[in-house]
């Protein structure tokens, strides 16, 4: 899989030069527009056929990152392609089509990272993406659901629970390997005794190595985006928090930031600092858990015990600090729901310092365990080219050399005022991902210190006086990677459309690249080094 050739002049673009370049190349087909995105730059795409060339230009020549595809059914189809311009922020490219349109050109050949977004849109909205060779059997599994259900369309009632599912008896998997004697080993959805989340894989093999991995997710699909429609913001905040509870604070923060941007609400500085501290606490805890998972997969029991003790201490520290082990119920649009006194903050800093020392000790020891490193080094390698092609998110992308940390590229909640590193590695193997986890954990501890020390006094929450129809994007660097939440509010302050672009969705797509051409026994280890969450992907 080679990337399309580089442009003759790899120029670095910022927002102005990019706008100029777009105007020059795509002329009347793509024009800047001033619409409802509250601070983000928008472009209206007037002709669908220019979409492929435009996305190629943005992704490869302008080196933009692909944020995701947001589909809305209003009086027209609104297809919103979100890109991140380096050093400049978000740009939305909106294609509006009449509702009778059934097909849209696919951009997956140019931007492979868009593959799953288009498949999801086809399954949930019924839009056909021309040129995408593998639509269908994605969210609603063909083996179980009938075709053309399109639950995200307005006419579909989310409470319609008594229709009959019509399973297909003659379903066969789309196997690709044609080697005499190859077969597809099924893994899941219930496997490892349930200690793993519900994901199904078909690993095509001739016996030793995995030649091709065919994942099937959405076993945890609870249609969060659908049931959020028409509910008040405070209810949708609950959904935002709980669709993936291991990154609960990060997602609730993204949602609150989206609402705050939509309603032009300011967040008091004390609240911003506390938000940073809590987000980093969550990141630290989740990274400790991922490290424990990697040690578990390589069966190095004592190190797994050590790492899981560190994680449990952090969970208990979170509970003492914030009243809930997973930091539920803290965010609200406009700030935080509660304040924290100085003693509580000092206790948290002690606990976090303890964790820092323990993690350092653990990392030192693991560095010298050659049998452990043997299972991780040069295993599950994702090359830099593949990582760029698939636009990997989070620590996994950074382990392959990408620069994708939103805290530095698109700072929010005051991150621009803190001093911290976003560590990057080049090898892209399991060991690189492990090193990134340890390094980021130490950076998070530094950030917590910076956030909580000399925190000014003041309010932790600002009231949002009124609400009006508005839409905005909120983003956050969740522990797994960049998470984007898009919210559209209607006149009564209810949520009209809620879209979650989660990092796990992006990284589950890329997992097969890491797993293929490695032995079967490496599959659980590679899976552990990715540290993914099926619930976050499935929503």
């Amino acid at each position: 899989m080679t990337s399309p050739p580089m442009a003759s002049n790899p120029q670095r673009y910022d927002m102005q030069t990019l706008t100029a370049a777009i105007e020059q190349r795509f002329g009347p087909a793509v024009a800047p527009s001033v619409t409802d995105s509250n601070g983000d730059v928008c472009f209206a795409v007037r002709q669908p056929d220019v979409l492929a060339a435009l996305s190629h230009f943005l992704f490869w020549e302008a080196r933009c990152a692909f944020g995701g595809l947001i589909v809305e059914e209003r009086d027209q189809w609104n297809l919103r392609y979100v890109f991140r311009i380096p050093r400049s922020g978000w740009a939305h490219f909106i294609l509006r089509l009449p509702l009778e349109t059934r097909s849209v050109p696919s951009i997956s050949a140019q931007v492979h990272a868009a593959d799953w977004y288009e498949r999801e849109a086809e399954d949930l909205f019924g839009l056909d993406f021309e040129g995408h060779p593998r639509l269908g059997d994605f969210v609603l599994h063909d083996q179980v659901w009938q075709e053309a259900l399109t639950p995200m369309r307005k006419q579909f009632d989310a409470q319609a629970v008594d229709f009959k599912k019509r399973p297909r008896k003659d379903w066969r998997p789309a196997l690709v390997v044609q080697d005499p004697g190859s077969f597809a080993m099924p893994v899941g959805p219930v496997y490892e005794g349930g200690a793993a989340e519900s994901v199904h894989f078909l690993l095509e093999t001739v016996g030793e190595d995995v030649i091709r991995a065919l994942p099937r997710l959405f076993y945890n699909y609870r249609a969060v985006e659908k049931i959020a429609e028409g509910r008040p913001v405070s209810d949708v905040l609950l959904l935002a928090e709980r669709f993936s509870a291991t990154s609960a604070f990060a997602h609730s923060l993204a949602f609150c930031q989206a609402v705050e941007r939509a309603l032009h609400a300011d967040v008091p500085p004390r609240a911003s600092r506390l938000r940073v501290a809590l987000a980093e606490l969550e990141r630290l805890r989740r990274h400790a858990g991922t490290i424990a998972g990697i040690c578990h997969s390589t069966a190095l029991s004592v190190s797994e015990a050590h790492a899981s003790i560190i994680e449990e201490q952090l969970l208990r520290a979170s509970c003492q600090f914030a009243g809930h082990r997973y930091l539920f119920g803290l965010n609200r649009p406009g700030g935080l729901r509660r304040d924290f006194d100085a003693q509580t903050c000092a206790d948290l800093l002690d606990a976090v310092d303890n964790a820092a020392a323990e993690l350092r000790k653990l990392e030192e020891r693991l560095r010298y365990s050659s049998s452990f490193l043997d299972r991780l080094e040069d295993v599950g390698v994702v090359s830099r080219d593949s990582a760029r092609e698939l636009d990997l998110a989070g620590p996994v992308g950074r382990a392959s050399g990408l620069r994708n940390d939103l805290r530095q590229t698109c700072p929010y909640s005051g991150y621009e005022n803190y001093k911290f590193d976003a560590p990057r590695e080049q090898e892209g193997d399991g060991y690189a991902r492990l090193r990134i986890l340890f390094a980021e954990a130490q950076e998070s501890i530094k950030l917590i210190h910076q956030a909580l020390t000399s925190m000014g006094s003041g309010e932790v929450s600002a009231e949002i006086p009124e609400t009006w129809p508005a839409a905005a994007l909120g983003w956050v660097e969740a522990p797994i990677g960049a998470a984007l939440h898009w919210v559209r509010l209607d006149r009564g302050g209810l949520v009209e459309r809620y879209r979650i672009l989660s990092p796990s969705f992006r990284n589950w797509h890329a997992l097969h690249v890491a797993v293929e051409d490695f032995a079967f026994q490496d599959f659980p280890i590679i899976l552990a080094t990715f540290g993914l969450s099926a619930a976050e992907c499935d929503r």
Binding site: S108, G131, Q143, P180, F183, G188, V190, L202, E208
Partner: protein, 716 residues
């Protein structure tokens, strides 16, 4: 006694001739019955004659007519012939029944059954004559006849071009081997007064070492064609695959033994080898053959081809044991030599029985489903319940799992290698150790191979889309296969009765009896004597050797190898007691489970597959996948050529097909016949330049040759 044997053999020939004549005269529809009945009677007669000889009779000799210039044609039945005769009879008994059943189902009303029946009886007669021949001419004439009739039987379904090619290769190799054997006999005859076996045996000492070596090599490789030794066995996999299923159990169970008989007769009996060199050569060649055979068998997916490679492996084990026998005999260790030869003969018997059984099973599967590829089979246990049981018995036997017969002969063979401690030279001991290790590796791979073949063909779910023509075994096929399965079991649990019988053949060749060394008379010897010192009896009593003394007649049920004064008993085993203990444990377990689960109900539900709606055939393990580790570890042997390794993509990133195909050329082909064939073709191409069609040059050739001859005549 002698007369008894003679008259039984005469009866056999009469019945065989009657069968031949009747099958050619009577109507088609009777032919299968004739094959079954007359063939069974013939087989029983053969077995009776052999049994009488083995039970303690005398050799039987008969001079037939005398040919001018060649000497008398004679027959001679000694113990070695009797052993091979018995095995041939047993296998023929089962195969006549199976063959007639198979032909009935397969060919129905076609006219070719008559041809098959006639050839069948002709082959039976020629096989018996080979085994009872008393002089070289009878032997060679009947051998050639057997080769040709085998060719016709192999070529029976000659409509397929590749089958015809395979049969032709077999014929060509048989003739080449035959030529080598004729040469060997001629060399042997230079020092002898006549061509009878007695004369050849008597004058063996007068041969020069070079002559003796020449006879040995020509005999080993010439007979090795039929036996299946590397490098002259490259015809075997192809031919076995092409042979019709009615005939192949006979090809594998009887004809292969003829090659071993030839080696034993020529190199073991008539012309003893000079020194330990030939024995070592045979040992090494046998071990290599065994390893190559089982490697290709393990990675082979075609049932018949896999069994063919396995035959090569077993032949290698037998020849390795024969090589050990030759080495021990040449270095004056008659008792280990006898043990080695007994092991070789035991393995030959076992191999015939379980290979015939497995081939019958494979033939049945092929006839009913039309599929031989293990990757596409699966789930046969539901289609053929009885076949599953007997095929399992055959697989366990060939994988050398107690209490079946393969275990005993493998155990004996490996034990003879451990006996190499008595040999003088350290180099020879090293060779023995390496060959022993090779055979141990072979045994382990054999377990993998047959585990794979049984599990992938019978268990699991059906992987290909075929439907069986008939479900379940016919009565006759059940009978024939059960007979062989019962033989597998009996030969396994009663080794203490088989070894004395085989020893009658081993003793005259080795010079000592193996019975006393392997199966001492525990039940009858109450106190120590010269052969059974007290320490030995005590040790053996502690092993429970005298359990069942009041119940079981005979020498006891334990096979052992004796050591020194300090260590009287070195190795001992008893499949009989193991089987008995197994039965007792199984019965006990069954009783306990029945008691404990009295109030439980048994629910049969589908296989747990992780919660997916349906487990599809493409999600189950294939035979290729199972044997992949062997393919990967021994890659240097297989050296696959990657024919295709392409990835097709659509829209740059989406893979639609990953195509990989590999081609493997057999090791022997790669190392021997491709270079030789290439050289010969090259030479022929070179010589072809002479044939350019110009008449002047041809005249020139004649003239120059004439001048050359005249010059030579002048100079001499």
């Amino acid at each position: 006694m002698e007369l008894w044997i003679g008259s039984v053999l005469l009866a056999f020939f009469i019945v065989c001739a009657a069968g031949l004549i009747l099958s050619s005269l009577l109507r088609e529809s009777h032919d299968t019955a004739i094959i079954a009945w007359f063939g069974s009677v013939c087989s029983i007669l053969i077995m009776a004659a052999a049994a009488v000889r083995l039970a303690g009779g005398q050799d039987f000799s008969l001079d037939l007519w005398v040919l001018n210039g060649f000497g008398p044609l004679s027959l001679h039945v000694d113990a070695l012939s009797a052993v091979f005769l018995f095995v041939a009879g047993l296998v023929y008994l089962s195969c006549c029944i199976f063959g007639s059943d198979y032909l009935l189902h397969r060919f129905g009303g076609r006219d070719s059954i008559r041809r098959y029946a006639v050839l069948h009886f002709a082959l039976m007669a020629s096989v018996v004559i080979i085994l009872i021949a008393g002089d070289a001419l009878t032997f060679l004439l009947s051998w050639e006849f057997m080769s040709i009739v085998s060719f016709f039987l192999v070529n029976y379904e000659h409509e397929q071009q590749e089958d015809a090619n395979a049969a032709f290769i077999m014929l060509a190799m048989s003739e080449a081997g035959f030529l080598a054997v004729v040469l060997a006999f001629l060399i042997a005859g230079t020092a002898a007064s006549g061509f009878s076996f007695a004369a050849l045996r008597a004058s063996a000492g007068h041969l020069s070492p070079a002559g003796a070596w020449g006879i040995f090599l020509l005999g080993l490789l010439g007979f090795g064609v039929k036996a299946g030794l590397v490098p002259v066995n490259f015809w075997l996999p192809r031919t076995y695959t092409a042979t019709p299923p009615a005939f192949i159990p006979i090809l594998a169970g009887v004809t292969l033994n003829l090659g071993i008989y030839g080696i034993l007769r020529l190199n073991g009996d008539l012309i003893p080898s000079p020194g330990i060199g030939p024995g070592l050569f045979a040992l090494i060649l046998g071990s290599i053959t065994a390893l190559v055979g089982i490697l290709y068998a393990t990675t082979e997916n075609d049932l018949k081809k896999m069994l063919a490679h396995s035959s090569i492996e077993n032949a290698g084990i037998i020849i390795a044991a024969v090589g050990a026998f030759l080495v021990f005999r040449s270095s004056n260790n008659p008792v280990p030599a006898a043990i080695a030869l007994t092991a070789a003969l035991y393995h030959m018997v076992n191999h015939s029985v379980y290979k015939a059984l497995l081939f019958q099973g494979a033939g049945h599967i092929e006839g009913s489903t039309g599929v031989r590829d293990m990757d596409r089979l699966g789930g046969l246990i539901r289609v053929f319940p009885t076949l599953s049981v007997v095929f399992l018995v055959g697989s366990l036997a060939i994988a050398a799992i107690p209490p079946f017969n393969g275990f005993v002969s493998e155990w004996l063979t490996l034990q003879t290698f451990l006996r190499s401690a008595v040999l003088p030279s350290p180099l020879v001991k090293i060779v023995f150790a390496l060959c022993g290790a090779t055979l141990a590796l072979t045994a382990a791979l054999a377990v993998t191979c047959f585990l794979k073949s049984y599990a992938m063909s019978f268990l699991g779910i059906r992987r290909g889309d075929w439907t069986p023509d008939y479900v379940g075994l016919a009565r006759k096929a059940k009978l024939s296969m059960s007979l062989l399965a019962a033989a597998c079991l009996l030969l396994g649990i009663l080794p203490t009765y088989v070894i004395p019988a085989l020893d009658r053949a081993a003793e005259p060749l080795a010079g000592a009896s193996a019975t006393a060394a392997l199966v001492p008379p525990f039940f009858t010897a109450t106190q120590s004597n010269q052969q059974l010192p007290a320490a030995f009896l005590q040790d053996f009593h502690n092993l429970g050797a005298q359990t069942g003394a009041g119940l079981i007649p005979g020498r006891g049920m334990v096979v052992l190898l004796r050591g020194s004064e300090q260590n009287p008993v070195v190795f001992a085993m008893s499949p009989f007691y193991a089987a008995a203990a197994l039965l007792v444990l199984l019965a006990l377990t069954w009783i306990i489970v029945k008691r404990l689960t009295r109030q439980r109900s048994l629910v049969l539900s589908e296989t747990w597959a992780g919660g997916i709606p349906r487990l599809l055939p493409e999600m189950t393990y294939t035979a290729t996948g199972f044997s992949n580790p062997v393919r990967v570890v021994f890659q240097a042997v297989f050296r696959p050529n990657i024919i295709e390794d392409t990835r097709e993509t659509v829209a740059v990133h989406f893979r639609t097909a990953i195509r990989r195909r590999r081609e493997e050329i057999h090791l022997v082909d790669r190392l021997f016949f491709q270079p030789i064939g290439g050289a010969v073709s090259g030479l022929a191409a070179l010589l072809a330049r002479m044939h350019h069609g110009r008449l002047n040059a041809y005249v020139g050739y004649v003239v120059s040759f004439l001048v050359l001859v005249l010059l030579l005549y002048r100079l001499s």
